[in-house]
């Protein structure tokens, strides 16, 4: 067996962590040296991640590829779902890294080192095949997230970081309980507990404790901001430093969904029974209620933070419909949207920060007419906005449309409720664009420009945004890049859940949604 790709994978995960260690240890390293070093740490995975996705061969025979020893017993390997996610993470990481390198902060080396840790941890989440290893890497990435938000965050960082820490730790604890019970119930030896083996064990298990599915769903759902466990996300992302928002909202958050798919959906029947009904309604609330909340936002970064919560809704629904009515396309599309959302959401956070750097504020009513001064920034921001509201050509489109199509056998009004995101997201996103960039320049902006003239987007940030948008366009035009590795995973999971599922849940009577 060819060990070369496995080496690449191991290198992609360890490189940022090692560089991060060096930067943390060498707080006094000279600036230029540290910058170059850190850039290496960000760039190595960004080259290797997409490369590994391209190397991914027809996986129907092997669910796991590129296996290696890893460290602490957590072997490295990719599966069909994690390969694209790892590639996406590496690109988001590079963009976030470039953003971090352009920032002037106190304790720069520590800052960069912690972000590298975050990146390494996130890559580890998707690059490990051991269930507890996945969890470990998630925590490994989460701790720097808190520290970075607490010390380098913006306005309101203390309460936001605390809230984030409490929510995410609680969510992680609940999901850990679920994971451990699942491993126990599957009868798989702890040391050999990979997603595949545990799922296989659970599928053949005689009895699974009833609460396991709920623990996994709501624990991991909290990490992915499932309604009503989403309250941490908006203030957290708003307060966190931009590279952290990019990495967390773009990549690390996807761990919750990743786990729900590979553990919950594949073997715990989270879409059946009353749990499935709750799941459905929470996901719909994610789309509709959080969408409405987005409409009420008056602050650009808060709007983006809320919209990143709202965009989880369709993903949850794609997962739900895969389990509930055996539609593999729902899962395919959900996975696609996970990747695409990571790219577009990171690009938006990056560019919104560039807006703030120029206009000095995120408040929409004080912004306006920026496009005349900064045409490139405006063009890229509009592109990223269009990506996030699912314009064809960008990856998000396939994901969203795929999910709408996967819901085709549900009742019409449920479909309409979900598809209403097409309109809602257009309303808030375009309002943000119009009040930031269009119209005559606001007085505040003119004054600021007169006192401290600002230029258009710098080259480094341009490059970072182009990486993200370029990747989104690439998967938009060549969707098979993602689907070739995801299809077999989705098909496999669907086969099982169909085998397990009851009749398709015909949308329950006028239950919650409004609460």
């Amino acid at each position: 067996m060819d060990t070369f790709p496995a080496t690449l994978l191991a290198l992609a995960i360890t490189a940022p962590i090692l560089v991060g260690l060096i930067l943390l240890a060498g707080r006094d390293l000279p600036r230029s040296f540290a910058s170059g070093f850190a850039f290496g740490g960000f760039a190595i995975p960004a080259v290797l991640g997409p490369w590994l996705l391209i190397l991914w061969s027809n996986p129907s025979t092997a669910p796991q590829q590129f296996q290696s020893e890893g460290f602490w017993g957590f072997g490295f390997a990719l599966n069909g779902l994690s390969a694209p996610l790892l590639a996406m993470t590496s690109l988001v990481g590079l963009a976030a890294g470039i953003k971090a390198l352009t920032q002037e902060v106190e304790g720069r080396n520590t800052y960069l080192g912690l972000i590298l840790f975050m990146l390494g941890g996130t890559l580890g989440v998707f690059g490990t095949n051991h269930l507890v290893g996945v969890y470990f890497f998630h925590e490994f990435a989460l701790i720097p997230t808190f520290i970075l938000t607490l010390f380098w965050g913006g306005e309101g960082r203390r309460p936001a970081a605390m809230q984030m820490a409490i929510y995410l730790t609680a969510g992680a604890m609940v999901s850990l309980a679920g994971i451990l019970i699942a491993i126990y119930a599957s009868g798989v030896d702890y040391g050999a507990a990979t997603f595949e083996s545990v799922a296989h064990g659970l599928q053949n298990a005689k009895s699974i404790p009833a609460a396991t599915g709920a623990l996994v769903l709501f624990g991991l759902g909290t990490l992915a901001s499932l309604f009503p466990f989403h309250s941490w996300a908006a203030p957290g992302y708003t307060a966190a430093p931009t590279p952290v928002s990019m990495l967390h909202a773009g990549a690390l958050k996807k761990f919750g969904l990743y786990g729900i798919i590979l553990l919950g959906l594949s073997s715990l029947d989270i879409t059946g029974g009353s749990l499935g009904t709750w799941f459905l309604w929470f996901a719909v609330a994610n789309v509709v209620l959080v969408g409405l909340i987005c409409l009420a936002q008056r602050d650009l970064k808060q709007l983006l933070s809320w919209s990143s919560v709202a965009h989880m809704g369709p993903i949850f629904l794609g997962i739900w419909v895969c389990g509930a009515s055996g539609k593999a396309d729902g899962l395919d599309a959900a996975a696609f949207l996970m990747v695409a959302h990571g790219l577009s959401c990171a690009a938006l956070f990056l560019l919104a920060n560039a807006v703030r750097a120029r206009a000095g504020t995120y408040r929409l009513d004080e912004l306006g007419g920026l496009a005349t001064r900064t045409p490139i920034l405006a063009a890229l921001f509009i592109a990223a906005t269009m990506a996030s509201i699912g314009l064809p050509g960008f990856g998000n489109f396939w994901g969203e449309v795929g999910i709408f199509l996967a819901l085709r056998d549900q009742s019409l009004w449920l479909q309409a409720l979900v598809a209403s995101t097409v309109v809602i997201s257009a309303v808030y996103a375009l309002r943000a664009v119009a009040s930031t960039f269009f119209g005559p320049a606001s007085e505040a902006l003119e004054k600021r420009f007169a006192s401290a003239p600002f230029g258009d987007l710098g080259w480094a940030e341009r490059f970072a945004a182009c990486i993200l948008l370029g990747a989104s366009l690439t998967i938009g035009f060549v969707p098979s890049l993602i689907t070739k590795s995801v299809n077999p995973v989705a098909a496999g999971i669907t086969t099982f859940s169909q085998h397990n599922a009851k009749a398709p849940v015909q949308a329950a009577p006028a239950q919650p949604a409004k609460r």
């Binding site: 309250s231 909340i293 593999a328 899962l331 045409p375 070739k484 299809n487 669907t494």
Partner: protein, 614 residues
Amino acid sequence: MPSDLSSLVHWILFLPLGAAVLSALFLRRAGGLAAWLSTGTAFVIAGLSLLLLGKGVDVSWHVELAKFGDVSLGFGYLIDANARLMLFVVSFVAAWIHLFSVGYMKEDSARGRFFAGLSIFMFSILGIVVADNLLMTFIYWELVGFSSYMLIAHYFDKDYAAAASKKAFIVNRVGDLGFILGIAMCLSLYGTLDFVALKDHAAAAKTIPVAVGALLMCGFLGKSAQFPLHVWLTDAMAGPTPVSALIHAATMVAAGVYFMARVSFLLAPDVLNLIAISGAGMAALAGLCALAQTDIKKSLAYSTLAHLGIMGCAIGLGHPELALMHMAMHAFFKATLFLGAGSVIHGCHHEQDMLKMGGLLKKMPLTAATFIAATLSNCAVPFLAGWYSKDAIIEAAYHGHHFVIFAFLSLAALATCLYSGRMIRLVFLGEANSEEASHAHESPWTMTLPLVVLGLVYSVAGGFLASTLMPAGSLQPIKPALDAIVFHLTAPSTIVGLFSLVVGFFGALKFYGTVRGADALQVVSPRTYHLLEHRWMDGLYRWYVDAVQRRLAEFVAFLDLLIINGVAVRWIGGGVPAVLGYLTGRSFHRGQTRAYALWIVVGTLFLAWFLIAR
């Protein structure tokens, strides 16, 4: 050879995309180069489309991009007679509009962006024409919405342009919401999105569910600006005039008509009736509203709405071929009208108020001649382009015994003549009513040449050309209807048409000559005028957005803050320890190391009990 022709379609489709990418990335500062690149591409496409039309061969080509589960995401072409006709009309009109833009946008600083926008628009609209399945159509459909958004927002530093672009996009998305649901329903019912396969399924099925057609129709309502989603079209005049010509005359609005014709086999009779009635009603209403607009472009926009209503009506009456024919004729003369308006605006130093114009016939003879020719075609003067198609539709309504529709269409015909006469009278006849108009000058050749080509050749002789020169296949289905009109001058439609023309057109010429510097109708009957200004629909939507949607959003946000974040989380977070603390007589959190140690012990014991007892 089919492979040859599919590569021809590749070129038609991807040339404009390439031009757009090139202009957007590299020619931002070289506006002149971008302009000629884009225009050159447009003419090449027009030539290729003509070639395709001449060959008269169907093309079908398909490749699978990816699979989601069992759903195939396919990319392909399906070129039939309708598609060839549409390709030709769109690319031909668009090519001349490009050329016009070269002159019109000469002084604009953002020409690179503008022409990139035109090219991406071309790509999307041609995509709709050639697409072979519903999903691809939806993709181009969305892209059309996006490119029109960018083009309407060309003068983005003006508040009205920013608002209009947003409105256009969002209203279109409301239509798309129904469209995507319709696509999902097709997939659910028939398991395919491919037009050919869908047609087979529809033919095999006894009845088509009403919902399929009704949902697909939503897309048409948005894109073709049909009632009640027509509100964006008049605001979209905020874009540069060539954009208005391209979007509102030739292409974007026609896309909806074309699409309805393409999926006409999926429309149940109830849906058709609905389209017919609402189309006819809108034709009459919009025609009358055009009487109360002082902005020349807005008046033309209402005229477009009226014609779109007529096309919708033709589809509803079960004559999609007639709708397409009217779409083609309308594209020619309305593009001429818009470009003529652009030339007038350009000549009058960007004055758009018709009441401030006047007497331009002498100052801008070429523009005036073409504009008047196109207007006459618009009024359906016999043997001009508009006459063939419009009268055929009115005739179809009469023959189908849809007398309500017939009445509405007749009213629309009368209104058309009225506003046309008014426009001619106010703009070209009489004397100049403002400084700008008295110093008007004729436009450069890049602007007048398209006018001459489009206006004189096609709007005057278009119908003749269409009925004689075009390959038989493309017009075969409507041949009988055409013959019926041409050879029966006593047909009801002809009577209606001639009556409207005489009474409406000449009446308007006379009526609007009575008052100078103001609108005669406004002077005579201010209340009628105000009603026709058509503000109430916008008012209704504004009320919805301000009073309903925004309040709902704020209410939900408040509830989220109060209930989930405030009560639930804070209560659990703060309440549970408080209660426990009350029970144990002391707070958990007092910094006492020993208390913490005690709780660790209690917890450990509890866990041990839990594990052993189970």
